[in-house]
């Protein structure tokens, strides 16, 4: 088990190194101009440029992504619970939420900025808005997935609603919750960056717009790499938590 995990990690690392090598070869062999595609070395070298405040900008973007994602997870689960417990909440709110889900969240960006002015909080809201639905919908589905015959089996013993909920529905919904969180984590990254593109004064998305004007392609590449890195870390945290609490066979892809 341990050895297999190490092996998988090793192969993953190798694949990434190979991709870097391919990138390097394309640039050097193909003599691609640096303003179109800088080499990996040149890209990483921009990290030395203190004017770009890499730490500060990365921290801002990370806070936006994690914040939006965390709120989306908490509210997504709470709404899913409310909808399972109350038929009224489901029939009243669900159609509204579905309509809301149809709105491209990116289109909401400029509005949110009008309402809240630009900044970290605004971008958290946009990241939240885009990550919320997949988490709500998959969790809701998981809570309802219980086999009816299992409910009969415990129903014949007069199980209370609370018992059914805590012993059967809630643990049964965890694989779905995690599957929703994985989708949500990817979307939260997109949400935060869109927010920064539309209006902001800090963050990696903001930095990308600044360096784009100077044709500093290496810094743009580096920003993209760092944004992806935040996303990968978030996804990794979700997967690690899933590995802790969900039995292997119950996990969804």
């Amino acid at each position: 088990m341990q050895r297999k995990t190490l092996q998988v990690a090793g192969i993953a690392l190798l694949a990434h190194l190979l991709a870097l090598l391919a990138w390097h070869l394309v640039v050097t062999v193909g003599k691609v101009p640096a303003f179109i595609l800088p080499s990996p070395a040149a890209t990483f070298a921009t990290l030395g440029n203190a004017r770009y405040d890499w730490w500060g900008n990365t921290a801002v973007t990370a806070v936006e992504i994690m914040g939006g994602f965390a709120i989306a997870t908490v509210l997504g689960v709470l709404f899913a619970l409310a909808f399972t417990w109350s038929r009224l909440a489901l029939t009243l709110l669900m159609p509204l939420l579905i309509t809301f889900n149809m709105i491209p969240k990116v289109a909401l960006g400029p509005l949110v900025i009008v309402w809240m002015s630009y900044g970290v909080v605004t971008n958290i809201v946009i990241a939240f808005a885009i990550a919320f639905f997949p988490i709500l919908l998959t969790t809701l589905r998981g809570l309802r997935e219980t086999e009816p015959e299992l409910l009969e089996l415990v129903g014949a013993l007069h199980a209370t609603r609370w018992q059914v909920f805590t012993k059967i529905q809630l643990p049964g919904s965890l694989p779905y919750l995690f599957s929703g969180m994985k989708v949500g984590s990817v979307l939260a990254v997109a949400g935060a960056i869109v927010g920064e593109f539309i209006g902001s004064e800090a963050g990696l998305g903001y930095l990308m717009l600044q360096v784009q004007v100077r044709l500093d392609t290496a810094a743009m590449m580096m920003s993209v790499l760092l944004i992806s890195l935040i996303g990968i870390i978030l996804y990794g945290l979700v997967s690690a938590l899933e590995a802790l609490v969900v039995v292997r066979d119950a996990r969804l892809g």
Partner: protein
């Protein structure tokens, strides 16, 4: 339709007494008769099999016995007797065709679920669950997860679970229907052994006529026609039932009779 002890009965009273039990469902405004006029008795500790074509109301009857569905007005469903009281919501164990185990629980915790729901003391429950796993031949598997077990093993866990709270009545709806023929025969022999050891009253629904004759002390035959209960056949075969019995003349005669009642011969 109360499911309770019938005070009118004396000591000789059967454990379960069914008279004119019927069930009508209303589906899209139209009435639909799922079960009509089932009348028979079950003694305490008896093993009764229900057979009949698909849709004739076998599962419906089990649900009524489990207290999950009310029977129509005019039906008599009485379970328990003054000497042997039956507590609805407490004294019933169920096993279905699918094992329906909780994927995230280990085998032992799966077996313990009914006792947990009833709030029985955990330490004794754990002991009892271990004994039952031993009885179904899975004492080595208590720390495993369901996905590590074969279908037959999962079904044994489900059977152990149906017994963990020491119910008086065990209801089984095609418990071996999803198993391959060989596993199924082996499980039949095991179930008889479990029944003999536990002394439970078992009502088992099956599509296998041979299975019904082999397992049951009595076979109740339901048909799809308007007279829904076709026969109540006591099976007088040696109490020590082995698989060789299935090749005997008497066994064949019972099977033929039931096939005949179902219009299949």
């Amino acid at each position: 339709m109360p499911v309770s002890a019938d005070p009118m009965n004396t000591e000789a009273a059967p454990f379960i007494r069914l008279r004119n039990v019927a069930k009508t469902f209303t589906r899209d405004g139209a009435e639909f008769q799922a079960l009509s006029d089932a009348s028979f008795d079950i003694r305490a500790g008896e093993f009764v099999c229900l057979v009949g074509p698909s849709g004739c109301g076998k599962s419906t009857l089990l649900r009524i016995l489990a207290g999950l569905l009310p029977a129509n007005a005019g039906s008599t469903v009485s379970i328990g007797s003054p000497a042997d009281p039956f507590r609805p919501g407490r004294d019933v164990g169920i096993a279905f065709q699918q094992p329906l185990l909780l994927k995230w629980r280990r085998v032992l915790e799966n077996v313990m679920l009914p006792a947990e729901i009833l709030g029985l003391p955990m330490r004794e429950t754990r002991e009892r669950a271990r004994d039952l796993l031993n009885l179904v031949g899975l004492s080595q598997a208590e720390r495993k997860y369901p996905y590590e077990l074969s279908g037959g093993m999962q079904q044994r866990v489900a059977i152990a679970r149906s017994l963990v709270h020491d119910p008086k009545l065990v209801l089984m709806d095609e418990p071996f229907g999803a198993l391959d023929a060989l596993t199924r025969e082996r499980m039949n022999v095991e179930l008889l052994r479990i029944w003999e050891k536990s002394g439970k009253t078992i009502v088992l629904v099956t599509h296998g006529i041979g299975e019904a004759v082999f397992l049951g002390q009595r076979v109740v035959v339901l048909t799809a026609g308007p007279a829904r209960m076709a026969a109540d056949i006591p099976i007088e075969l040696p109490p020590q039932r082995t698989l060789e019995l299935k090749t005997s003349e008497a066994f064949g005669a019972y099977s033929r009779r039931i096939y005949g009642l179902l219009g299949m011969s």
